[in-house]
Amino acid sequence: MAKLFVGVDVGSVSTNMVVIDEEGNPLAAHYYRNDGQPLQVIQEGMAVLAESIKPATIAGVGTTGSGRLLAGAVLGADLVKNEITAHAAAAVHFHPAVQTILEIGGQDSKVIVIRNGVVTDFAMNTVCAAGTGSFLDHQAERLKIPIEEFGELALTAENKVRIAGRCTVFAESDMIAKQQFGFSKAEIINGLCEALVRNYLNNLARDKQLLEPIVFQGGVAANKGIRAAFERELKTTIIIPQYYHVMGAVGAALLARKQWIRTGKDSQFRGFADLNIKFIPKTFECNFCSNRCEIIRVEQEQKVIAVWGDKCGRYSESISA
């Protein structure tokens, strides 16, 4: 039977699932909006995945993204990796010569510097979401443009409009101001794309050498306006990989595959059937010491399957043992 590897990327806005074969070729890729319920999305997505790949053995499961711990516990993952490593692994797999990765997702953006196929430097946005997908989403909604058409529309702009891009609050009031001066929607959106790119390059990519080839991935890479703005700023062409929207999941699957090749260990994957049983997350404050940690616990049929948040290891160690 064919040996397959599953990668799951639970991000802030979307949950992505990918299946790759033993050679690392993606067989199926799914992109779901979380709508605040990643646990449910994981369960439903895995059910769809199970349908599409029958019959095969799952030889490894990798999870990544901000929800990687939860996904890892729920699925019984073999590998739980941070998204920077996962994104880099996927980009290097499809474009071995890549030297720079621009990644813009729902709530965070990263720049990853690669030399000789290895991560040498990276940066990630901190508190502000000014340069990310959620902000574009919000503005698209406000202007009543479907997010899928957002980028196309930006390309039709005739005149340049400068929008303040430092902060979403200022950007929005600036957009309204420009709108009252009579600029078209297309021009305002194009201005917004340029502001986002300017903000990204000035803050995140500051002090970084952005050498070609440059790969642009993450959900926002679908936006043609942003891509065009990047190409104008960097004066070069930018590669958008085929699986740009699920690269994190591809990376997690590739890393799980790499680990399997190295160790040859059987997967700890819980199995598709077991995923339908309800998972119940609970949270409480531990009063054992002055730390007062907020403990998060996931249960399945009264059995605790994962615990996070305890600084001393009181709860989490009893699980691993």
Partner: protein
């Protein structure tokens, strides 16, 4: 009067100092989420994160009946100079009849220093003052010695969290001695505890230097237990910011270390930034794999260091990760950066090994 002080380093030793001088002492509780929330509520919004923690811990100590705060000032440093006076104003405004005694450098204000000494001296006979001081200084050095030892052992421990649990035992042990004789007696016991920690010395580990703003580097609750988290990823964390080090450097400034930083920074901006640059250079010479730099959001001296990091990193061919911490950020966000950074270090380590061993890579996932 009931004395309290900022929560920083070996607080039990400070208690012994003031108790030796015949005062009642309220030890501020180890800062918790509540401490930080209290501090944020009553601090200016843009003051440094350590100030907020310290103010919160003062408030908790005042709740327990403290009415005299003893702290240090030192002219010429950064905003930390004003911590004492600022906290006094805030606490007075809140209606606490508290007194704040700020020790400044005796070189700058000898009279004020002596006046404070006389006040806290409490007519204690001179030989007793000397004995107390010696005990306190030895306790501080013992505390830091064992903490360094445990930081070294932590990545090798067989039972996760063992070193941290033993650390609590050792602190209690040191806290139990009230004289130099008792201290001498407990030291072998502390050594036995350390020797009894099961370790796996064969493990391949990475070495990372921790530099940055002293409070964040020293206090684990403020830096989200960065040392323990890194140890779990197979990294030994070495730092030089300890109270004992601070005392030593106060008496004997580390001239050579500071001179080494000259090519990058000629003059001090008021904090520990020259020292930090000196340590980055030193750790590089010692063959460390990387550096982690911590600063509170908006910390002026450490922003100076941060701005020099790209140049340092390129010249030394040494990965440096700079993290800005404050009350707004949870550890989840930092964990991504820490994990990716450690991954980067492992890859570099593997490549270096490959060159030496001709393909036989020792690497862990």
């Amino acid at each position: 009067m009931k004395i309290t002080f900022p929560y920083m380093g070996p607080v039990f030793a400070y208690r012994k100092l003031f108790e030796g001088l015949g005062h009642e002492v309220v030890i501020p509780p180890r800062p918790s989420q509540r401490t930080i929330e209290l501090g944020i509520k009553y601090s200016p919004e843009f003051i440094c994160f350590p100030f907020k923690i310290i103010l919160g811990s003062y408030l908790e100590a005042l709740e327990q009946g403290a009415d005299l705060i003893v702290t240090t000032g030192f002219i010429g440093a950064c905003r930390a100079v004003y911590y004492g006076n600022l906290s006094e104003r805030i606490l007075h405004k809140l209606g606490f009849p508290v007194e704040v005694t700020v020790f400044d450098s005796p070189g700058e204000d000898l009279r004020g220093f002596l006046r404070n000494c006389r006040k806290l001296g409490n007519h204690t006979p001179f030989p007793k003052v000397v004995r107390t001081l010696e005990l306190v200084i030895r306790l501080i050095f013992a505390h830091d010695y064992y903490q360094k030892k445990l930081n070294h052992l932590r990545p090798y421990e067989r039972i996760p969290g063992n070193c941290s649990r033993k650390w609590i035992e050792i602190q209690q042990l040191l806290d139990s001695c009230n004289s130099l004789k008792e201290l001498k007696e407990v030291l072998p016991e502390a050594n036995r505890i350390i020797a009894g920690i099961p370790i796996d010395p064969e493990r391949t580990i990475l070495k990372v230097g921790l530099v940055g703003e002293i409070y964040l580097v020293m206090e684990s609750f403020a830096n989200h237990e960065v040392e323990e988290r890194l140890a779990k990823l197979g990294v030994e964390v070495v730092r030089n910011q300890y109270i004992s080090n601070w005392v030593t450097h106060f008496v004997l400034p580390p001239k050579r270390l500071l001179r080494q930083a000259d090519p990058y920074l000629k003059h001090s901006a008021g904090g520990h930034e020259k020292e930090n640059i000196g340590y980055i250079l030193k750790y590089r010479q010692m063959g460390f794999d990387g550096i982690i730099h911590l600063l509170p959001f908006g910390c002026m001296p450490e922003l100076v260091t941060q701005s020099l990091i790209p140049a340092l990193s390129a010249n030394l061919n040494l990965p440096i990760l700079s993290l800005s911490l404050d009350e707004q950020l949870g550890w989840v966000n930092h964990m991504i950066r820490l994990e990716a950074f450690v991954e980067l270090l492992w890859t570099r380590y593997g490549q270096a090994k490959e060159k030496i061993n001709d393909g036989k890579v020792v690497c862990r996932s």
